[in-house]
């Protein structure tokens, strides 16, 4: 048993904790989320590079939301999302414990939002090289080419909303697309409705996207939709010096006005 499994076993045996949300090996060796309730199942837990899913999305699931004896094994995406969710009052201090990992692989217990916030400050917040390269490729396109690129991508979208379901920040019980009085966004999937949906999703994540890329990973059609929210995240950083997932205070770039902001219309 490795450290994590031992730790999990101890926590469950102690009786202070009843549920560990973490990762296990899934089909074909892929990592997937797992919910461990019994100490003898602790050996299912893994944590390695393959565990790149953002599992903060489970923290506010109705089934476990009010379970205060839960632990979440968090990769850095998950940690950032927890901070952002805390800022937006979707998770509450003390409702769960976080197991994070130091660079040397040591387990770090984080019990409060303050501790998580402090730990997150030590993490890397930019895009990966590969992601940055994709971003650049699209930014370098001419306006026409970029439009054609996205038009082609969106034409494949089947509106399964896996992007929405997998995003920890998409927690609205009734999404804008599902509000039909009035119907702002067309329900049947065709290119126009798809474009509106994805643009709106990106705008709703402005200043809130922690650039985990989970939406893109979740897409069964492999649309690079994470680039849309990345773009908005990069703009938030550039124009408002706001990086989502770094502060537990609600200071969303679009919600507050600072005298040094470029535009002064909100004054």
């Amino acid at each position: 048993m490795n450290n994590l499994q031992q730790k999990a076993q101890q926590l469950l045996e102690s009786g202070n904790y009843g549920l560990i949300v973490g990762y296990e090996k899934g089909t074909s060796g892929k990592a997937r989320p797992v919910f461990i309730r019994k100490a003898e199942h602790a050996s299912k837990l893994i944590f390695d590079e393959s565990c790149d899913q953002n599992i903060a999305v489970y923290l506010y699931r109705q089934e476990i939301k009010h379970d205060k004896k839960k632990v979440i094994v968090a990769n850095h995406h998950t940690l950032k999302s927890i901070v952002e969710l805390a800022a937006e009052n979707q998770v509450f201090d003390g409702d769960f414990m976080v197991l994070a990992f130091a660079e040397n692989g040591d387990i770090i217990e984080l019990n409060t939002f303050k501790e998580i916030e402090k730990h997150v400050a030590t993490l890397y917040h930019g895009l990966t090289e590969a992601e940055a390269a994709m971003m650049k490729k699209i930014e370098d396109m001419s306006l026409e080419d970029r439009w054609a690129f996205w038009e082609n991508e969106f034409s494949k979208c089947i509106k399964c909303y896996a992007c929405r379901a997998s995003c920890p920040m998409c927690y609205c019980p009734t999404c804008t697309v599902e509000i039909n009085q009035p119907q702002w966004i067309s329900v049947p999937s065709h290119t126009l409705g798809n474009l509106e949906w994805h643009v709106m999703r990106a705008m709703h994540l402005a200043g809130r996207c922690v650039t985990c890329g989970q939406c893109g990973k979740a897409c069964p059609l492999e649309l690079p939709i994470q680039l849309l929210t990345y773009k908005v995240a990069l703009d938030s950083k550039q124009f408002f010096d706001s990086v989502a997932g770094t502060s537990i205070c609600a200071d969303n770039a679009l919600a507050i006005y600072k005298p040094e902001d470029h535009e002064n219309f909100i004054r």
Binding site: Q90, C172, T174, Q181, A255
Partner: protein, 667 residues
Amino acid sequence: MARIGVFICHCGENISATVDCEKVAKVASEFPGVTVSVDYKYMCSDPGQNMVKEAILEHNLTGVVVSACSPRMHEPTFRNACAEAGLNPFLCEMANIREHCSWVHEKSDATTDKAIDIVRTLVEKVKRNEALAPIYVPITKTAVVIGGGVAGIQASLDIADAGHKVVLVEREPSIGGHMSQLSETFPTLDCSQCILTPRMVDVARHPNITLYTYAEIESVDGSIGNFNVKIRLKSKSLDEKLCTGCGACIQKCPVKKIPSEFEQGLGKRTAIYVPFPQAVPNKPVIDRVNCTYYIKGKCKVCEIVCPTKAIRFDQEDSFVEVQAGALLLATGFDVLKTNFFPEYGYGKYEDVIDGLAFERLASASGPTKGEIRRPSDGEIPKKIVFIACAGSRDPAKGIEYCSKICCMYTAKHAMLYKHKVHEGTPYIFYMDIRATGKMYEEFVRRAIEEDEVKYIRGRVSQVYEKNGKLIVRGVDTLLMGQAVEIEADMVVLATAGIASPGSEELAQKLHVSYDKHKFFSEAHPKLKPVETNTAGIFLAGACQSTKDIPETVAAASAAASKVAGLFSNDLLKRDPLIAVVKKCAPPLYSSCTGCFMCIPVCPYQAIDKEEIKDRSGNIIKTISHINPGLCQGCGTCVAFCKSKSIDILGYNHDQVCAEVEALLNEW
């Protein structure tokens, strides 16, 4: 089943000159849901309004669209007309085909088509309008007046005399403001303090006025009718109840060389002090920056000599919270100082002073007992050069505006100098003479003709010292730009009036808009000169722009009358066009996710949290709640809410979407 009446106004020729109103009426009559559609020359006229009323009664209309001018003009007119005919006024909408259409386009079919589009849009909206009831907010009949200069004093007295409570907040240890520093006032040359101090005493004695000096506004929330003002009472290191104002402490204070702010640095004061003898309240404060006890930890002479043991070294700042129905800003102005004028040697040469300092020199209660003496050596100056527009009307230095009072006070200064130093020669460099008040021009003429003040039209390029004299170099533009050089004993700069320090912070606390010079902005430069864009907050005096005393007093009384007008009702009637968080049936209760990101967005602090509880009191969820008394219906939260959980009554999503669809769809 909608039964909409559409009323197209020609507005004389204003609309009908470019829009075919008859056609608009005809096309509109075919819109689904439109029962009656007519056009008329002047809808706002009595016969026009009667057409609307009669149509409501005759056709049992469920909505009215008046297609005319901007709703800013006649919306109340037509809403009232509808109400008189028994239709809820909020079922009446204005389609603006004048400012939005006829005035901005040429006569053409396209213009008429646009008018038709506008009307259709509003028809679709009004179909979805709901009857709304106005909101009534109780009014707290207390006004907080910020600033105790002549404006604040006048306004406080007027409001208090009208029978309402006033809380007057002054930053300095005494009320009085700049007027208390002045010697004589133009154009009558009566003594400033002599006319002001009785009013100061009135303030102190008035049963309706609570005076807080040495106090600042900490925070303000709430809105018209119900502000909550938190005031910081800076520690005076004194128990005011015990202090009799005997002055023993001041006499014995060992720190005596502090430049007096009141005397513009020309006189000195002690560390425990009252700013001036007639101060109200006439009780000292300890200036902790200069007090030996606070610096070194010992002294306490004042405590020892105080007969009533009123000194409190450990006193801390305290806070009071005041509920107020209205706020009145009277924070006044300041004058430009320091190295704004390096070429004039201000700050470099002791004998280059500003106008306020000259007032103190000329004042009988001033440091020289009213004798005009040079600050440097106490000599009586033989020649004084007054430089008007020192900073004002100088775009290069960032102040384009005219400070308005300098022409007059400079003339007064020269005159006062001449009256006191008969052999002296006053020179005035000026750009233009602006003497537009009652008896003002006569006053200036008197300075020129009777007191022989030498006016030189031109600008001063440099002031420098040479052999104990101040050499003032300028040009006389009336002498074809001939260079002029005057050897002066003293130079007085009529420095520009600027916003009082701290104005910007205060404006932000109060959500009052201000201009680029940090003067507070009025709601309308002509029609609402003493209102701000924030309802319930009024302006008086020089905090808005520099003003002379009569103008300031007039503005103060005007603002006071606005407050008294507001307070003449027990309830404030407001349009119910406010935001609401949408609720729905359980188990969702509301689509609001409780992210509370709308809270910082709200410019009026109208949003707080609401807990939804089950029957046994357990919290099911916490959602946003909008205080109807505070919400101004600006819609910022609506735009920001991702889950579309907030609607503005009268402008809800359904209505706005219907308008957009009506515009986009081809019919």
